[in-house]
């Protein structure tokens, strides 16, 4: 098969997959009586109309990048982390609890400590699933989904009970939220008048560090080896079980950090529904970015745009915000399907045979003469 054929093949597969995802979105939009073209127009152009909305894209991209980096580490190590949502909540709880506890401390100690607390809390929550998989062979997809529900209940319990802002109890409104965390623990705002905060720089730095970890360290090599071929890795001396746990610690840590960054950079207190689906969107971002930091950063920006745009369509076109879940689901299905065609030599062979029969590609004899 010629190089041109392969390129054309890949382009066709990707175009069909993208077309299928857009078609699914269009179908649902038509079903609920929205104007698909206008809606997609708002999604993709609305957020870019003014500076504030444009910075909002990046505000969303920060947690998405962090979560997706962790998910990329876990997927590459052969363990599917669906539990980012719960790990984010743990990160929020850990960082805000510490910030409130040590409220008198100076910022240069408090801020790193809070970020670390968030990452540790998330890592601990992710580590449970890793341990269960390594020790008891518990399917990590099921356990992380269950841990999401458990974390959700724990989160509301703490915000309604032990961590609730005393002011909420005094005024009697009883909104489940924590006290405002001290200013010393806030992440700086990068652009005045917007919510863009220095977590962006942290996310970019961690993207680079993730690349270093996975492709330039022994630990990363071992984890990728365990993910690529369990038996072969074990035969080569990799302790596969341990690398699964380490991968989940990293994945949970990144998600926890995302939660911490959201609290310290955007909301400044633990409130309900901070995460609003970053855990699941992060899976889509990681897959869309090819499980590679260099792909994840732009993918996070793209999905940040999608999230901000989806909020706008709710106002402009009356499309419920759940619509974003539909698109995310369709995109996941399209990506995993397309991947199998891109990486499957048998499928390529089949396609080549098909085209030869149509007389569109050269005969095997002709391409054989060409030589390697």
């Amino acid at each position: 098969m010629s190089r041109w054929f392969r390129l054309l093949y890949a382009a066709t597969v990707i175009a069909i997959a993208a077309g299928a995802a857009v078609l699914a979105g269009t179908l649902v939009l038509t079903l609920i009586g929205a104007r698909p073209l206008a809606t997609f127009g708002v999604v993709f152009s609305g957020p870019l109309r003014d500076v504030f909305s444009a910075t909002e894209i990046l505000v969303r991209a920060v947690p998405l990048t962090l979560v997706a980096l962790g998910i990329a580490i876990s997927f590459r190590s052969g363990i599917l982390n669906i539990g980012a949502e719960g790990q984010i909540m743990m990160g929020i709880l850990g960082s805000s609890a510490l910030a409130l506890k040590l409220s008198g401390w100076p910022g240069f100690v408090l801020l790193p400590a809070c970020l670390a607390a968030g990452a540790l809390a998330g890592a601990a929550w992710g580590g449970i699933a890793g341990f269960l998989r390594a020790r008891f062979d518990v399917n990590e997809i099921l356990s992380t989904v269950m841990l999401n529900y458990i974390a959700g209940q724990l989160y509301t319990f703490l915000l309604r009970g032990p961590m609730i802002d005393p002011a909420e109890l005094m005024t009697g409104s009883g909104t489940p939220q924590s006290m405002r965390i001290p200013r010393a623990a806030w992440l700086d705002r990068l652009v005045p008048g917007t919510r863009l905060h220095s977590g962006l720089l942290l996310a970019l730095a961690l993207a680079f560090l993730t690349w270093l970890l996975l492709w330039r360290t022994t630990l990363g090599y071992r984890m990728r080896a365990a993910g690529a071929g369990r038996k072969a890795a074990r035969y080569a001396g990799v302790r596969v079980e341990r690398s699964l746990v380490v991968a989940m610690l990293f994945a949970g840590g990144f998600a926890g950090l995302a939660g911490a960054v959201e609290v310290l950079g955007v909301h400044h207190r633990a409130i309900e529904a901070i995460s609003s689906g970053y855990g699941f969107a992060g899976i889509v971002v990681a897959l869309f970015g090819g499980l590679h930091p260099a792909g994840i950063v732009p993918a996070a920006a793209f999905f940040g745009l999608l999230l901000v745009g989806a909020d706008m369509t709710q106002r402009a076109e009356g499309v419920p915000a759940n619509m974003i879940l539909v698109l995310q689901g369709a995109i996941i299905l399209a990506i995993v399907s397309a991947n199998m065609y891109l990486n499957n030599p048998y499928a390529q062979e089949r396609a080549a045979r098909f085209f030869r029969r149509l007389g569109l590609a050269r005969s095997p004899a002709a391409s054989a003469e060409e030589g390697p």
């Binding site: 518990v138 269950m146 319990f157 699941f280 419920p320 995310q328 995993v336 065609y341 048998y346």
Partner: protein, 316 residues
């Protein structure tokens, strides 16, 4: 309230609670016996619950008004079957990895149900739902009558589906083909069984059953629809298949165990025992994790080709 009363209440509440889990898990069992595990079950249930809810919500008068619940169940089964077909297209024809594809299906189906619900219905609205139909005679047996024979008709049908699926799996040619495809697809292929066709059939059947399980939630149990009505039951159903060792009877035992835990949790809340509500809600999810950890050995009894896409052209 005496302890005896409380146990009776828990058991007679637990039996109807188990039905949604039971139907979805029996369906998931067909998927897994054919070698495909469908983690989108939760989304399919959500879709089923929503579609079933639409029938009594919109059809309030006219000639079919008395049969709206039946129409609802039919819609849910059809919607579930369609989603099963979509999942088959992705995992059988396109051979995508099943775990992540299942999460995609879950987001897609749950998202469509939630979006359409907001658009067509808006807020929480109740429907009449399916009424209780005590079995004449049997329901008057002391104790047992109330536990087993004083429910809505879907409960009886769901429990009849247990021996029916066992028969289908173990006593029919189709069941044999299904298990062959899930155990050794290449051998089945060599014997002239079409692996994709059997897997498609299993996924459509499993999807329809998950849809009906969802419909049970909205029409019989909660008698309303909400985004979070299913609340992870689809994932619990997948776990129950492991717990029940891929046998319909084992799955029934697991479904009963879980719903008893849930009924217990509710009776704690109603009984006024001081215990944070959130921890009571957590209980079933914690139980799933414990059960999965303890059922580790049974993993070896599972279908040998579970989770592996089959490509007849791959040379091994």
């Amino acid at each position: 309230m005496s302890a005896g009363h409380m146990v009776y209440d828990i058991v007679s509440l637990g039996v109807p609670f188990s039905v949604a889990l039971l139907l979805a898990a029996l369906g998931e069992n067909f998927n897994q016996r054919a070698g495909v595990f469908n983690l989108g079950c939760d989304g399919v249930m959500s879709m089923g619950a929503f579609l079933a809810f639409l029938a009594p919500y919109f059809i309030r008068s006219g000639p079919i008004a008395p049969f709206t619940n039946l129409v609802g169940f039919a819609l849910a089964a059809a919607g579930g079957a369609l989603l099963g077909l979509l999942f088959a297209l992705v995992t059988v024809t396109f051979r995508a990895p099943q775990g992540i594809a299942g999460i995609g299906l879950q987001l897609l189906a749950g998202g469509v149900a939630g979006t359409a619900f907001r658009h067509f219905v808006g807020g929480v609205t109740g429907v009449g739902g399916v009424a209780t139909w005590p079995v004449p005679g049997l329901s008057r047996i002391p104790l047992l009558g109330g536990i087993l024979f004083d429910h809505n008709p879907v409960v009886y049908l769901a429990f009849l589906a247990v021996p029916a699926s066992s028969y289908l799996l173990h006593q029919t040619p189709w069941g044999l083909r299904l298990r062959a495809v899930g155990t050794h697809p290449r051998a089945a292929d060599t014997m002239g069984i079409s692996v994709p066709r059997v897997r498609y059939q299993a996924l459509v059947l499993g999807g329809a059953m998950a849809g009906i399980g969802g419909a049970y939630l909205s029409l019989c149990q909660a008698k309303m629809f909400a985004d979070d009505l299913v609340a992870g039951r689809g994932f619990i159903a997948v776990a129950l298949v492991y717990f029940g060792r891929w046998s319909p009877w084992g799955i029934m035992g697991g479904a009963l165990l879980f719903s008893l835990a849930q009924a217990f949790q509710l009776s704690i809340q109603v009984g006024g025992i001081h215990f944070p509500y959130e921890f009571a809600v957590m209980l079933p999810y914690v139980l799933v994790i414990l059960v999965l950890a303890l059922a580790r050995r049974s993993r070896k009894l599972g279908p040998a080709a579970l989770g592996r896409p089959y490509d007849r052209e791959v040379r091994v």
